[in-house]
């Protein structure tokens, strides 16, 4: 079953066609990879799905529901969490405060109460433990290293228990030990039933982790299949070699 689906989405920025009738599907419970050369529209597709950009044409469906052009908070509330290529955390809040931002409850009681209710506090600490940065809970997030920020961003979207997680280059700019650490966490969550869509340039990471890989080029999907098959696809090789 497809939990997330983009149907023929198009998006132009001025004269640049970032997405042109691009369709991809994400199967529930799977880890789907999204690769392609720089500028092929991967991040724009993420932005369109999560409500950060509006589509010019096409539709986005989630869990059998049309979510085209929904606002980012609605998309998140429905159960799609995402990370950003350049990590976006709240630098002046502590690590623990960062965790609580995503645990918004929109009833009055949730707003009036102190953010550190014991249940949420426990959950936040569990997740920090899960990614391995509990020690840093009271440190301003600005003081974290790049890799730690990635872990924090990953942890704080988990607090809302999203059904699908979109990761934008989780392995970009971090060392190999850290990449394995992140890959292990993704696999663990996936075993618990969380679906992933991952943009990544690190082929080893993608090949090891993903069940299916979609390849994008010039704003549209040019190939789809198991990693080892996609890797041999002549169109894909052309795209990467600048054909």
């Amino acid at each position: 079953m497809n939990i997330l689906e983009a149907r023929n989405v198009s998006k132009a920025f001025g004269g640049i066609q970032a997405l042109s009738t691009c369709s991809i599907t994400v199967e529930q419970g799977k880890i789907t990879g999204l690769i392609g050369p720089n500028g092929s529209g991967k991040t724009t597709l993420f932005n369109v799905i999560t409500g950060y950009e509006r589509v010019d044409a096409g539709e986005v469906h989630f869990n059998g529901r049309r979510i085209t052009n929904s606002s980012p908070d609605k998309v998140f509330a429905l159960g799609i969490g995402r990370t950003f290529q350049l990590t976006r955390i709240f630098p002046r809040l502590t690590v623990l405060e960062n965790m609580h931002v995503a645990a918004q409850r929109n009833d009055l009681k949730g707003l009036i109460s102190r953010w550190s209710s014991s249940h949420e506090q426990r959950r936040a600490l569990e997740l920090l433990d899960f990614v391995g940065i509990t020690r840093l809970k009271d440190v301003p997030a600005a003081n974290l290293s790049y890799g730690q920020k990635k872990l924090l961003e990953f942890a704080f979207i988990l607090i809302a228990e999203p059904k699908v997680i979109l990761l934008d280059e989780p392995a970009g700019g971090v060392n190999p030990t850290m990449i394995n650490h992140i890959a292990a966490r993704v696999r663990e969550l996936n075993q618990q039933g969380v679906t992933f869509l991952i943009v990544e340039h690190n082929m080893e990471f993608v090949m090891k982790l993903c069940d299916t890989v979609n390849v994008m080029h010039r704003g549209t999907k040019i190939a789809e299949g198991p990693p080892e098959v996609v890797r041999e696809n002549p169109d894909v090789l052309d795209a990467y070699l600048g054909g």
Binding site: Y52, D73, R92, E97, V101, V139, S145, A160, H181
Partner: protein
Amino acid sequence: MRLLKIAGLLILLAFAIAFPLLFPNPAITTVAVFTLMFAAAATAWNIFSGYTGYIALGHAVFFGTGAYTLAIMCQDWHIPAGYAPFYLLPLVGLVAAIIAIPLGIIALRTRRHTFIVITIAFFFIFQLMAYNLRGLTNGSAGIELPIPTWSGDFYNDPFYYVTLAVLLLALVVSWWVRNSKYGLGLLAIRDDEDRALGLGVKTGPSKLTAFVISAFFVGILGGVYAYFIEVGIYPAVVFDPLYDIAIALMSFMGGIGTLSGPIIGALILEPTQQYFTLAYGENGWYLVVYGAMFLVIILLLPRGIVPTISERWARWQASRRNTPEEVVVAVASGSAVAASQETQPMVERNEGAKEVNL
């Protein structure tokens, strides 16, 4: 430590309450009333601008609206002089808050510099309206308020306690906001608004609510001011661009986004300004001194007094214990603002072997 803190606050509160008895000289209590007014206004301004990072430079709109609202109410409803005008203050604040709703909806569609410019524009629109809506405001002739019936040495005291009550209420609200999930959403907006929205923070309603809360208090203070000054109110006096800047400067000086910063800024700047006005008259010298003081503070404590001092205190405490990890943690808990870059190497150095090497 916590007990010490509470005891300290209680002593401060007792001192604030006893102040007019300790210093009954009207010259001093007048300065005290003005100082409390600015402390309350800066605290209210900080609830919106300090926590969300949206710098509003038009809060004199609400101050002036509050002043005119009370004046017009007293005039039209024939409110007798005495304590009656004080009872109208919640209503005055409500009017300012209601006016803040459409202004907020419009201005908060923009961000950063554009937002600042729009709030300034609102200010000038309201000042112009105060001059020109003669039927309502009596134009540049101003409106007279009833003269309080009490007088003499006792004159300032009711104003002092009313203003103190407004300050305490604003402070409680500010404290609650700072420690609630709602306030956490505001702080997240300050750091990265789009990211906050993407994590389910209702950014639009959150910002507007904070804007309206701050307008409510500033409106009340406008009402208190109008009744206090005795000479009636005029467009140029209650819609004063210096007021817009003063409450922002006080907050910056004390530490924007902190609970006590705006009050400390007001406690320093307002008496200083009053002193120089008294000492050198209305010839503008006080403005020069005012500006010079501000420049010195920016030069020495660019993030404001409270964040800088609490960070230094935390670092000193930690250096006594002499463990780098605690420095980082102490700095983080001591200051709401990000610790300076100097602490960063300590985090890095502490990457233990048990952790993946980042």
